[in-house]
């Protein structure tokens, strides 16, 4: 149990690749932090610097109140779960779990006790005498978890621990990891490129892009107020629609569609507008709306994803499964659900329209959507 402070940390590989650039994260004791980002954005590199498997080029990593830059991985009081599990193939499950404790001179009786406890927590008791190659992927994954748990370290580090499992097992293991972490209260850093995994596990999300932090925040905060077009398109599924718009005063034009923002004018001129597919809905009778030309539909069961074009820009709407569809549909969106981003930097502009206090009636009034065509 400890805090982890990552202070202005950079990684420059020999050959000049800067994989991580001036990253700052302060992790509270017991917090579950998820590093998320596309492949090659430096997630693993950052995690491995915390673990001590990679030299820290610049900056400092502090675990508890100790700077660990020059501390041996074995002395950092962390445990790591690897993507391919990295179990010792020549040892039984019991020996795998006990290895770290044995090397730390833990008394035999205590080792047995702790291994038994971990095995019970992870339902590994029937497999203790087996070698890893005689286990299924999910069981191996649990052994890898167990190896981390028995040590009772100050922090858990996970590098995409679930990405080798099938979809169903991934969901259940995800729950199990969350449950264990809650129960043990161990500070954790978890790396994934799966935004759903990130959303469900994290106390706080760290979205990385090209070695730099794009945004840190609670999952819902990141979802509702993405700091940039990058975050907007990365977090949430389907990805947020990003379309070109034009703002004149409080009037927003997206292709042929016009929106009135009721006095809200965060910028002026061309900008990027973000619309979440799930915020779009079929316009009610008499409501201001815009027309979406339907290209094709993806049925997900719980909803249908309607892909179409607004003017000449692609747009996706997530609609209830029973929605009737034609060649074109009339859609509406509450104006407080619109996101604005600067065209050049991709950074967010303003915090969006304040959400109305009493929904329905006021929402309709607050931003009047004007169909233009």
């Amino acid at each position: 149990m400890a805090t982890i402070d990552i202070n202005q940390v950079s990684k420059i590989y020999t050959g000049g690749v800067t994989a991580v650039r001036s990253v700052d994260i302060n992790i509270a004791d017991g917090e579950f932090i998820v590093l998320v980002g596309p492949s090659g954005c430096g997630k693993s590199t950052l995690l491995r610097m915390v673990a001590g498997l990679e030299v820290i080029s610049q900056g400092a990593v502090r675990i508890g109140d100790r700077v660990v830059n020059d501390v041996d991985p074995a002395d950092r009081d962390i445990a790591m779960v690897f993507q391919n599990y990295a179990l010792y193939p020549h040892m039984t499950v019991y020996e795998n779990l006990a290895y770290g404790l044995k090397n730390r001179g833990t008394p035999k009786a205590e080792i047995a006790e702790r291994v038994a406890e971990a095995a019970r927590m992870l339902q590994l008791e029937p497999y203790l005498e087996r070698r890893p190659r005689a286990l299924s992927g999910g069981q191996r994954q649990r052994v890898a978890m167990g190896r981390a748990i028995v040590r009772k370290p100050a922090a858990f580090l996970f590098d995409e621990p679930l990405s080798n499992l099938d979809a169903k097992l991934r969901v259940s293991m995800r729950g199990e990891i969350k449950r264990l972490q809650r129960r043990l209260g161990t500070t954790s850093i978890y790396v994934t490129h799966d935004q759903l995994e990130a959303m469900t596990l994290a106390d706080r999300l760290v979205v990385l892009n090209g070695g730099q932090i794009e945004q840190i925040g609670a999952p819902l905060e990141v979802y509702h107020t993405p700091a940039s077009t990058f975050v907007a398109s990365f977090i949430g599924s389907p990805a947020m629609n990003l379309v070109k718009g034009d703002l004149h005063g409080d009037r927003l034009a997206i292709g042929p569609a016009m929106f009135e923002l009721g006095g809200y004018a965060p910028a002026s001129g061309p900008l990027t507008v973000g619309l979440r597919a799930e915020d779009l809905r079929i316009a009610r009778e008499g409501e201001v709306s815009f027309a979406l030309r339907v290209d094709y539909v993806e049925e997900l069961g719980s909803q249908r994803l309607v892909h179409g074009t607004l003017g000449d820009q692609p747009l996706t709407a997530a609609l209830p499964p029973e929605t009737a569809l034609g060649d074109a549909i009339n859609l509406a969106i509450p104006p407080d659900r619109l996101h604005f981003f600067a065209n050049e930097t991709g950074k967010r502009i303003g915090n969006g329209l304040p959400a109305p206090t009493t929904p329905a009636a006021e929402r309709l009034g607050a931003g009047r959507l004007v169909a233009h065509r």
Partner: protein
């Protein structure tokens, strides 16, 4: 593994035929001949042969000289196997630490070692050359007047050194690729679990290297028994009398110098049996303790 479909069921046998022919002609046929002639006493001048039953074997076992050579062979094999394995491993571990993740460097290093053994053997012999051998000069500097080919102990020493020297590259290559195939993440997991690098090596890396080591053990014993023939031949320079030789060399001496084809055949059959038994023992008892991942 990829399954290949042949258009004719006989085609695979056609492909196998050359290999099978080589094995039969150069391995089974001479073996059968050796077994057969070990029961006969051949006339030294080639005028026929007489069936003598097991007396060739009895002669070999009764001979004090044969016993002495057998004991030397055991010691020689033990020393050569031990030193060439441990030095090969040591060098591989050191090289592995340097070239980890550097594929180009690895290929370069290995390619150098691949062409090395015959050359290394030659250089090794030159080390002990009576006139120009630097090893002999160094020994002389320390007051050890080396007489390779004349003095029993000196010759034995030189034979072991050159035999080890020649085999190290081979072991090095196998150990190095064995080390490189230990997954990086397993090493990293061990680095987090265990502070001492030496202990990590003993408890994680070495057990994972066991299949390689076992394979090399078999190869090295066979090498010490048979493939050192050339080295011995150069060192004893046909003056086998008071020089150390191994059983294989005695087979050659008796058969081709002494023209005792029957006795020589009996000895080679004994060797064949020894190797056969050794191989079975190795696979039975050692392989069981080896973890194939």
């Amino acid at each position: 593994m990829k399954r290949v479909q042949f258009s004719s069921p006989y085609l695979p046998y056609v492909f196998l035929a050359p290999q099978l022919a080589v094995i039969v002609i150069f391995f089974y046929w001479p073996s059968v001949q050796a077994i057969q002639s070990s029961f006969y006493l051949e006339d030294p001048f080639g005028f026929g042969s007489t069936f003598v039953g097991l007396s060739n074997y009895a002669d070999a076992f009764a001979s004090a000289e044969y016993g002495r050579i057998a004991r030397f062979t055991v010691v020689f094999t033990g020393l050569v196997t031990f030193f060439s394995l441990s030095l090969g491993l040591l060098l591989a571990v050191k090289a592995d630490a340097v070239i980890r993740g550097n594929a180009a460097y690895k290929t370069l290093l290995i390619s150098v070692y691949t062409i090395a053994p015959p050359v290394a053997g030659l250089i090794g012999m030159m080390f002990f050359d009576q006139h120009i051998g630097p090893f002999v000069k160094i020994a002389a500097f320390f007051g050890w007047e080396m007489k390779v080919g004349l003095n029993y102990v000196d010759t034995a020493f030189a034979m072991v050194v050159v035999a080890v020297w020649k085999q190290i590259p081979y072991n090095f290559i196998f150990f190095l690729s064995g080390l490189q195939s230990v997954p990086v993440s397993v090493r990293e997991a061990a680095a987090i679990d265990c502070r001492s690098g030496f202990r990590r090596f003993w408890t994680v890396v070495l057990p994972l290297l066991a299949p390689t080591a076992f394979f090399l053990l078999v190869i090295n014993i066979t090498y010490s028994l048979f493939d050192t023939f050339g080295i011995i031949d150069v060192m004893v320079k046909d003056k086998a009398a008071n020089n150390p030789i191994t059983l294989v060399y005695k087979v050659y001496m008796d058969g081709f110098r002494g023209n005792d084809i029957g006795g020589s055949s009996a000895q080679s059959v004994i060797l064949m049996v020894v190797v056969f038994v050794l191989t079975i023992l190795q696979f039975r008892f050692i392989e069981r303790r080896v973890h194939y991942t």
